[in-house]
């Protein structure tokens, strides 16, 4: 059964409205691009080989484009793009440090905060380190450009120092953390305060309740979105 357009269009419209209000549209291009492989595969598979669809629109070689498949494909693609945009808006409008600080204030453990924060901050440093190692290997005559297999071969001397160095650092990092009372049982002192108006709190609670109500209504069969 094909579902109607109300759901996907509503979700996409709501996300698009958020994009316009927040004004972060240009920063979302990479998120849309990142979703393209999934979107394209959804479009191709559903359009051409949707099971049991008989309403043929056109035939391309051994494949038949069906109206049902095309509709399902477009609706699914719309949902995926809306999802990618929603993540993009979140990333573009939310400061990681602020988010983690606030989550910690609300009860997220210091270990969880440390793991998430250090993992995210470590990515650009690992990229930097990889660049340094590649430069060092190049200086010693390693070919890291040209054909893919040559570049792949160059990964071996890159991975060794990267992984070895990271593992080597773990013990010293652990001890350095202990030297700074990381395992103290006290609740960490928050150093950031965030404005949180009554309207913002009401909006958060309202949206949360709306999600629960819609989910219950849909699953219970009381709400049938066309």
């Amino acid at each position: 059964m094909i579902r109607g357009w109300t759901g996907p269009v509503s979700v996409f419209g709501a996300v698009l409205l958020t994009v316009v209000i927040t004004g972060v549209g240009r920063r979302l291009v990479s998120f849309v691009v990142a979703s393209l492989p999934l979107v394209i595969s959804i479009l191709l598979i559903n359009t051409f080989i949707y099971p049991d669809a008989t309403d043929a629109l056109a035939t391309v070689g051994p494949f038949t484009v069906t109206g049902t498949g095309l509709t399902v494909a477009l609706q699914a693609a719309l949902r995926v793009i809306a999802f990618a945009l929603a993540i993009g808006v979140f990333v573009a409008t939310t400061d990681l440090d602020d988010l983690l600080s606030d989550l910690e204030r609300r009860g997220l453990g210091r270990r969880a905060e440390f793991v998430i924060g250090s993992a995210i901050r470590m990515v650009p440093r690992m990229v930097e380190r990889a660049g340094e190692i590649v430069e060092a290997q190049r200086a010693r005559g390693l070919d890291t450009e040209g054909r893919p297999w040559r570049r792949a071969r160059g990964l071996v001397p890159l991975a060794g120092p990267m992984i070895g160095g990271a593992l080597n650092d773990v013990e010293e990092r652990t001890m350095a953390l202990e030297a700074r009372a990381f395992s103290a049982p006290a609740r960490r002192t928050p150093i950031r305060r965030f404005p949180d108006s009554a309207a913002q709190r009401a909006a958060r609670w309202g949206l949360g309740l709306l999600i629960v109500a819609l989910t219950v209504a849909t699953v219970g069969g009381w709400l049938n979105v066309p």
């Binding site: 250090s118 901050r121 001890m175 350095a176 202990e178 009372a181 006290a186 960490r188 150093i191």
Partner: protein
Amino acid sequence: MSVEQALVLRGVRYRYAGADRFALDGVDLVVRPGEVVGVTGPSDAGKSTLCLVAAGLAPGTIAGVLEGSVTVDGIETRDQRPHEHAQQAGVLFQNPATQLSGTSRYVWEEVAFGPRNLGLPLGDVVARVEAALAALHIGHFGERDPARLSGGQGQLVALASVLAVGPRYLVLDEPTSQLDPQGTRLVGDALAGIADTGQTGIVLVEHKTDLLAALCSRVLVLGGGRGVREGPAAEVLADAGLHDLGVEPPSAVRLRARLAAAGVSVPEQAFAEAAA
């Protein structure tokens, strides 16, 4: 009976888990507040192990067997949990990059990491951070990204981060080994400033005997996990047998030895003034 205000190691032996021999084999050391005691020796002499034991990380964090006694102001480190000991004896390692938490955007936040872990009131956190930055004259680093500092600057921030936890003793494991001469000078000046306050006792493990000569009142030379020389820095570092123990004597001592070999006599006073 009054409790000795000092970091004291008595007959300390330490064997890492799975190892056959003791990395430390009967070491004695006493460091009082306001004192800088240097520790040197060849590779594999047990210097880093001494740091781990003195800082309460071995056997707490690093598995192994500890014999003898390690006390801080009369309290056995065995009886303390790591965060309690961190407030008594702070430790700094060689690599500035691994000392920092990696979770802070600004130096100020990085230095606040320890006091925040202790759950101190915000006012106390601010006071400790400001005091630690001021003690090392790096208040102007506050808004910089810790990941974008030079080696020497990074080591100063790591030192400030340890100081902010409030230890009475600092255990420094070759804090300048990965630094260039400028970075070494930065850290050396900072340590001299801390020592001058008379509040903090420092154990400084170093290969750079010039730094030990400039900062330390006493020096312990380790060899094979045992103390092989100990005494006033001027005496130990001028010992003719130092080289045979695998330790490069300070440049002033080497110069004097060469001048003596060439038949040139220079009064002792000249070297003392040059060192000062």
